[in-house]
Amino acid sequence: MIGEKIRCLLAMLGTDVHSKGIRTLAQLLRDRGVEVIYLGEHNTADGLINALIAEDADVVGLSYSTATYLHYTRDLLVKMKAAGVDDVPVMLGGLIHADDEPELREMGVKGIFGPGSSMTQIVAFLQDVTGKTLTAP
């Protein structure tokens, strides 16, 4: 449909406070034509899910800089399922260890962008999971 944009919710869960990475990502995505709904740090799974519903986000991006991401991601995905919003794809960024990728995939995480990932990869992922095209260069 004409006028459709990719709406991406970006947030940090739990006590993680290193928001520099997610802020940078927000700006890069905006520059690619994405509408970023920025939730910042200290979100709870329930709060994030309510925001996700109200914002009709196409995709959720979580950023982690601490090792607790397995716990928080699992908790979120379980609650998303219970809320009936597990159709919304979740992607992870930040300090994600390659060894944990299989477990994250099994939980239902659709995109994992650890250290060294490029914007091109993230943009391709977003277009793929949303079925929408980004028109910005």
């Binding site: 944009k5 520059d31 034509g33 920025y38 109200a54 910005a136």
Partner: protein, 315 residues
Amino acid sequence: MSDAIADAVRRGELRSVARLITRIEAGDPTIAATLRDLHAAAGNTPIIGITGPPGAGKSTLVDQMLARYRANGERVAVLAVDPSSPFSGGAILGDRVRMNRHNTDRGVFIRSMAARGRLGGLAQAAADALVVLDAMGWDRILVETVGVGQNEIDVLRHADTVLIVQTPAGGDTVQAVKAGILEVGDLFVVNKADTGSADRTVSALREAIEFRTHALGADAWHPPVPKTAATDNQGIAELLTAIDAHRRHLQDHPEQLALRRRAQARARVTEHLAEILRSRYLQPTNRSERFEAIIDEVVARRCDPSSAAARLLHD
């Protein structure tokens, strides 16, 4: 016959509401019947508009207002509009960061909207989104916009009470007067009263307001200038009292309320008219041969622009 989506909205099904607003944002023409249905029953919820320069503390104020309204048991919806990047068309919608504590509260609904640089279209999309929220039966609706352009000012026309947020930081006041924002404000909030010389800003605003209102007659509303420090939760109760006073003023002067409603309706119809014309003639996909032929005549100076427009309309 009532519309299925409209029914879902009235039942408060949040996902249906959120998806409908997305379709409004995208300019989906197939929701016209839904909007018609919802519009018929809307118009009962007080809408409070909040605008001012970026960083003035609007979202922080909204967060504190939400906390107070919730403490009073009121259920509140928020529409938060942020500008889109003119370069990429993307946006960072960051207002709700300041309101995150309300995310787990079912008595609050917050939706962000990007301005998307559409001529007149923002006011239209925001107004339709407000109709949807209105039909859900919230006790109040707050709408935040950045007071930069005509687009954003047009959004405020749909509010019953308009707050213009300023800060003690020098030039803002002059800017507000210049931008013609003085005419649309019902309250002028001086936020960040914990910093700088708030009292000077208050008196400068009072002076500008009095200059404008003294000619308006005894029954006119005189915009108050409350001081707040949103981050310290200071002055919020007084602000809410002033908002209620404005609402009562309109109730006590039904002729002023009627004028306002008429102006809102006029603005909405005008926006749609403009939109029809714009999409008929200006979208690259719709540029007809006839349109281009007349443009050729104007370029060759066989026809002037005004006559060209008149000829197109009379086709």
